[in-house]
């Protein structure tokens, strides 16, 4: 991870602090163990995702709904996969 990534991750870390534990766990974990591998389009999608309301994020990430935006759908799949594979 380079310095720019490290700074970016610090900024995003606070955006990953949410009102629900499930979101805290999934988003923070992905930020530490998945974000660095994203290309710039996917990073923008991650920012978009963080701009969503908690309840909507919860529905998407836990699997009760699917976003209309295909990029977000793909990202959500990565976030869900990361929580089970990375340490």
């Amino acid at each position: 991870m380079n310095d720019r990534d490290a700074r970016e991750i610090k900024r995003l870390q606070w955006q990953c602090r949410r009102g629900m534990l499930e979101l805290d766990l999934l988003l923070n974990h992905f930020l530490q163990h998945g974000y660095a591998e994203l290309d710039s389009d996917a990073r923008q999608a991650f920012e978009r995702l963080l701009g969503m309301q908690d309840q909507i994020l919860q529905d998407w990430l836990i699997g009760q709904a699917i976003p209309a935006d295909a990029e977000l759908t793909a990202l959500i799949a990565r976030i869900r996969a990361a929580i089970r594979t990375a340490p």
């Binding site: 900024r11 606070w14 009102g19 766990l25 999934l26 089970r84």
Partner: protein, 591 residues
Amino acid sequence: MAAARSLPHRHFDALIIGAGGAGLNAALRLAAADLRVAVVSKVFPTRSHTVAAQGGVNAALANALPDNWHWHMFDTVKGSDYLGDQDAIETMCREAIPTVYELEHAGVPFSRLDNGRIYQRAFGGQSQNFGGEQAARTCAAADRTGHAILHTLYQQNLRAKTHFFDEHFAVDLIRDDEGVTLGALVLDIESGEPLIIESKTTLLATGGHGQVYRTSTNAFINTGDGMAMALRVGGPLQDMEFYQFHPTGVAGKGMLITEAARGEGGYLINSEGESFMERYAPNALDLASRDVVSRSIVTEIREGRGCGPNKDYVLLKVDHLGADVVHQRLPGITDICRVFLGIDPAKAPMPVFPTAHYAMGGIPTDRHARVVAPARHGPEEVVPGLYAAGECACVSVHGANRLGGNSLLDILVFGRAAGTDILSYVTENPHHRSMRDAHLEPAIARLARWERQGEGERVADVKAELRRLMEDHCGVFRDQATMAEGVEKLKALRERIEGVRLRDHSQTFNTARIEALELDNLVDVGMATLMSALHRDESRGAHSRVDYPQRDDERWMKHSLYLREDDRMDYKPVRTKPLTVDSFPPKPRVY
């Protein structure tokens, strides 16, 4: 760190620390009356923990079954194991009805009955006619009541021109020599710049502190900041030994696995495959009361019959119920297990451990949400200019145990009460008092301490150790020896905080600094919890001790008060007299 003199100051009539349901309902009352109101929140307001409340909010509307506020009051007093203050409980149960209608008018989309009235569901602990038939008292906006309430209140506050300081972290309260609260020192998380907010009144509405336990349902933000701020200005915390645990959380993570799993026929097993609840509760089995199930789980683990490589959880089985039942009746649990554990509960058992859920204790207040503390003229003298409401406060409506649906109610009713009282306080005290550099020093010193450079322990390591310590020594299994050892360990850990250092001293988005300040807070509320629990040698409500299994009304019908100075305990009587009706005297609490 900047010298006190050079810091920017902003002036408001009211400063509200916390943008959950409690803070926003207070702010709305004030902004609507044209006061200058500042709301400070460490996360964006609609990311406050209130958003997680799914079950609903209680009010005796009598839409589904007969009901009235007096029955609601009886249930709440009984649920509190008679430790709740009956004047506050009467206030809450009466106010519940207009509160819910007010939310309805404000646009909260409550679920409806066929006749168009607000739908009400039945929850445990709700009765008709003072302990009779089941009542249905919980109003819900589908399964997103907290979300609906929070968003509605936030929108209304924007319209009323409440001034929001989003992503600002309150560090400490500022007081003058007479003990009057003058505002707070806050930190802009993005820029790292400190700011002084001067205000005629200050409301603490910072929510709970579930993060003090390793396994908790609470979000990361719930670190007891407001409670610790109150302690640091010399105030007490009340009834901190009463913390509600849920028996089945996902082990190592904390999310709830609802009682419905056991209600549908699920049961717990240990490493030997034994259905161990048969030994602890031969009749009720896995549906025994929450504290019995929680303690049984921990006892199994303590005696070496835990599952997994570290033998630190038990298993909850629903796989015998068949995929149809599991997937259709327990969809939420199915999803959680798939995402976090990679298992299908219809095929594999779930690792579970008791999870910390809700704080009954907190900053003592009267029913106008004014902070009270022991002083010259008695145990409940009003601290001028300081208010507290919501989960960080102890008014005390939940006493030794909270009923489901009563905490959203608590935050709304007493948030609003705070607003009402602040209005009259500001009318009577229209001027800002003068703030001198000396008043700022303690707060600035705390910030400066984390600027120290060099080698030292890491915040994350000490925090993990603290959470583990609290779980092991002041969780659901409580006896003298376990807790006394916990106090000693926590005192040692508290000393070590001096040697903890930040690696990162940059300004912008220095989340490490915020986490360090939160750690200070967690240590303080942890000590308040342990000390209060150690001293109460009886079992009441959520505080159940193996060595003192009975409730002892003769000695313990009183509130605990913990003070930070010398880790001192003090006590004050329960307010057993309601406002207009007769008292409910203590009775054995059987359901």
